[in-house]
């Protein structure tokens, strides 16, 4: 259901060019969205047609996350990397950290957040939920989650668990 609604809305949004949308475009949008939803269902049969992903409160928090903590992380990450590009001061290594997330969406969200935020890049995730993170300046060889991703673990849990 979630895939259907989002792909349909996205299609209509991209088709809209001022004025009304012709009926044939709505038809194509519906067709594409149904195909996408059925494909997703065939790929992950255990996902039911639940409405949880459409909850506007979650979307609100998601937008808040993107424009609040995530944007701040992105900014500091860039200043940090810019500094390292100029000074060449690095101490790289791959560390292991386990945030204890269980669901695919929250794992993806955290992995992407780690990659775009200060000095870290997710390399691999194993079946136990351990993240292998490439860290550009290792300060601690056995770090806690907080050292790597700050508040993002809590955010991933709140938004997607």
């Amino acid at each position: 259901m979630y895939v259907f609604v989002v792909s349909f809305l996205m299609y209509v949004l991209l088709v809209w060019s001022g004025g009304t949308i012709p009926a044939v475009e709505i038809g194509i949008g519906l067709f594409v969205a149904i195909v996408a939803a059925l494909l997703f269902r065939a790929w992950k049969p255990d996902r039911h047609w639940h409405l949880r992903g459409l909850n506007p409160i979650r979307w609100f928090w998601f937008l808040y996350y993107i424009f609040g903590p995530f944007a701040k992380g992105l900014l500091t990450a860039n200043i940090d990397v810019a500094k390292r590009v100029i000074t060449g001061e690095i101490r790289p290594g791959i560390v292991k950290v386990n945030p204890g997330l269980t669901n695919d969406l929250s794992k993806t969200l955290l992995a992407d957040s780690i990659t775009l935020t200060p000095g870290t890049l997710t390399v691999d995730i194993d079946d136990d939920g351990n993240y292998y993170v490439h860290w550009i300046y290792v300060t601690d060889e056995n770090p806690t989650g907080e050292d790597i991703y700050g508040p993002f673990g809590l955010w991933a849990r709140r938004l997607a668990e």
């Binding site: 949004l13 991209l14 001022g18 590009v85 100029i86 790289p92 890049l121 390399v123 194993d126 550009i136």
Partner: protein
């Protein structure tokens, strides 16, 4: 006024994209280069999108033409897609490199390598 904002955004965009390029030459191996190539170019290109949005907003209020509104929507979609795909692409590259046996240069610690040797080679 709007022109100044657009120029500022384009300048930030060019500065960070340039740093991304410099990082490809400065850093020793694929992982550290990916840091520069993903973070700097994502951030820089986001500012290119902001410049387009600022320009469209100014033109929309000046002329009232709907096509500038459409341009804003399309740019926002592109920026969202950029945020997701850039991080995911970097992740895929790093993982593929490590599985192909490219080890991080100057690394002080490599937990992934330790796990793979426990399992007997990088075939996990």
């Amino acid at each position: 006024m709007a022109v100044l904002v657009v120029i500022l955004f384009v300048a930030i965009c060019l500065f960070f994209n340039l740093l991304g390029v410099v990082s490809l030459f400065r850093f020793p191996d694929v992982y550290t280069r990916l840091h520069g190539a993903t973070k700097c170019t994502t951030f820089g290109t986001l500012f290119a999108a902001f410049a387009v949005i600022a320009h469209s907003v100014a033109r929309y209020f000046a002329t009232g033409e709907v096509r500038f509104l459409v341009l804003i929507i399309h740019t926002l979609v592109a920026a969202g897609a950029l945020l997701v795909t850039n991080a995911t692409g970097a992740h895929a590259l790093a993982r593929a490199s490590h599985r192909s046996g490219i080890m991080p240069a100057q690394a002080v610690v490599d937990r992934l390598e330790e796990r793979e040797s426990e399992k007997g080679g990088a075939t996990a």
